[in-house]
């Protein structure tokens, strides 16, 4: 399994043709206290870059874009009852949704963990 990052502060775990997606620790820190996460319906298909989810803090609502194309096969129901998970454990239990990848080639432009750390440090 390998983990990728985007410059929109999402992480993607890839396991075969399944990708698990969430927001990074840096993103949750910038957003502040997250109060609600609106997740896509299972079965929805996205093209890379589509609006996929909305994450709301007290002061802002931010769109989460689909980092790669695919079909939603599962969403993290725990976030609906406990949005604070996205603050406390953003890169594990606070995952957002899982996609069945349609074009693995799209992963190529994404960052590694080291590259993302460098990217964030420069912000």
């Amino acid at each position: 399994m390998s983990r990728y990052f985007t410059d929109e502060h999402e992480w993607i775990d890839v396991d075969g043709d399944i990708a698990t997606i969430g927001i990074t620790d840096y993103a949750q820190e910038q957003l502040g206290d997250i109060v609600f996460v609106e997740l896509p319906a299972e079965g929805t298909t996205f093209d890379k870059g589509d609006d996929a989810a909305v994450v709301e803090s007290v002061k802002a609502a931010s769109d989460v874009y689909a980092p790669i194309s695919g079909e939603v096969i599962e969403t993290n129901g725990a976030l609906e009852d406990e949005p604070a998970l996205a603050n406390s454990d953003p890169e594990e239990d606070g995952w957002f949704f899982k996609l069945r990848i349609t074009d693995a080639g799209e992963l190529e432009g994404l960052m590694t963990e080291a590259a993302y750390k460098t990217f964030v440090a420069a912000l």
């Binding site: 206290d33 109060v35 609600f36 709301e56 007290v58 949005p83 604070a84």
Partner: protein, 522 residues
Amino acid sequence: MTMIKEGRPTAPAPVNEAHMAPATATGNRALMLEEPLIFEIGSTDTTGVDFAPAPRVASRLGGLERRAIGLPGLSEQETVRHYTRLSRQNYAIDLGLFPLGSCTMKHNPRLNEKVARMPGFADLHPLAPQSTVQGALAVIHELAQWLITLTGMHGVAMSPKAGAHGELCGLLAIRAALEARGDARSVVLVPESAHGTNPATAAFCGYKVEDIPATPEGRVDLAALKRRLGPDVAAVMITNPNTCGLFERDMKVISDAVHAAGAFVYCDGANFNAIVGRVRPGDLGVDAMHINLHKTFSTPHGGGGPGSGPVVLSEALVPFAPLPFVEKQGDRFVLIEEESAQDHHAGTFGRMVAFHGQMGMFTRALAYILSHGADGLRQVAEDAVLNANYILRSLDDVLDAPFGGSGPCMHEALFSDKGLAEGFTTLDIAKGLIDEGFHPMTMYFPLVVHGAMLIEPTETESKAALDQFIMALRSLAQRAKAGDEALKGAPYHAPRRRLDETLAARKPVLTWEAPTLAQAAE
């Protein structure tokens, strides 16, 4: 000589440690009174209204009689006390300076309240026969004429219910005008510094919204705007004076360029107070502009409405204005509704509200306008701008004024949080102002300035009031720069300390529910 030593002491003992504000049994603090919810003090069988007994009749309710409702009542005395106590937990213009930028919190003259309550206006039905409401139609017409003349425009749509509703009206008129000439366009350009209602309105009307950047001096980037204009642009929405408190110097050039590209200019008139009587937006090439009667023309904000947002229109847009409106025919006033629209107003984009707009605001605004007259309104703009510049120049040595070098401000002064001690924010200064007895300024808007503080004093503040406010804000700025930790706990003296907005949003409690037995037992 008789010595009387009994009776009460007439001077207080000096305050010492033992006299530091102990908690009270009730939670009240003298005049600061805690007040429960009506659901906690009322009951469903208490009422503060008496009615004559109803005659006995056979019900015609179709078998749908209601059971329990769950609405508590209070006697009149308890009702008056409940709301009077609650009122005392509010800050208001009647208490002091209320410098919310972009909101124009000016004094609300009481004559206007008296006038609006005359039965000849307040007790009229919107569908009463027109022969019985000629005076009311005359008020709408007279106010309309003032608004048209003050703005140098050709017509006015009176029915929009508030500023955002007026924006909707203006954009719908623009869209109708474009469609009438068979010219579907898809994009509305909005400056970064715009009010949030602008992009929301444009999107609602089916337009794609694109940002126009600002120059470093806080004005619309004319070159960037010109580059973006093209056959797909329907309109440009500009706030002038803008939300950085500056007049858009290039407004006429912008309008000419927009018109040359076949598009329309929408002006957000929220800040009309700065220029009323001195500048007519019609002279700047504006096609549509809403006027917040609750800002410039002083109808009360009432804790969040009602507002009123008439929209003045250029010659090109007047044919598309919404129904209904008032027309003077000879010495009669006629309300043009759906029935008569075909003959008089075939291009209308339709109806926006059930009736004719905010009559109760029209009477107040007209009384305000007549009280000021043309000379007084000009003085309003001048004093509003003078007061804001006085604040700007009295504080720009202790607070960062990002556009202080861009020339005079108009009716509001903009500062940023630059230079405050590490960890200190605009919010801390705002909450500190509460303890000093002022309402805070607008915070974190416009978004183009970090930690923005937007201060609009309005023309109805005396120099003494401004000086006291300046003194308070200087003190707070110095404390925030010095890193005074106590500031982070402010306010200390308000009815409540800082409130937990995260909790409110994560677990929304939007209505009251009776506690369970277990909760009650705690």
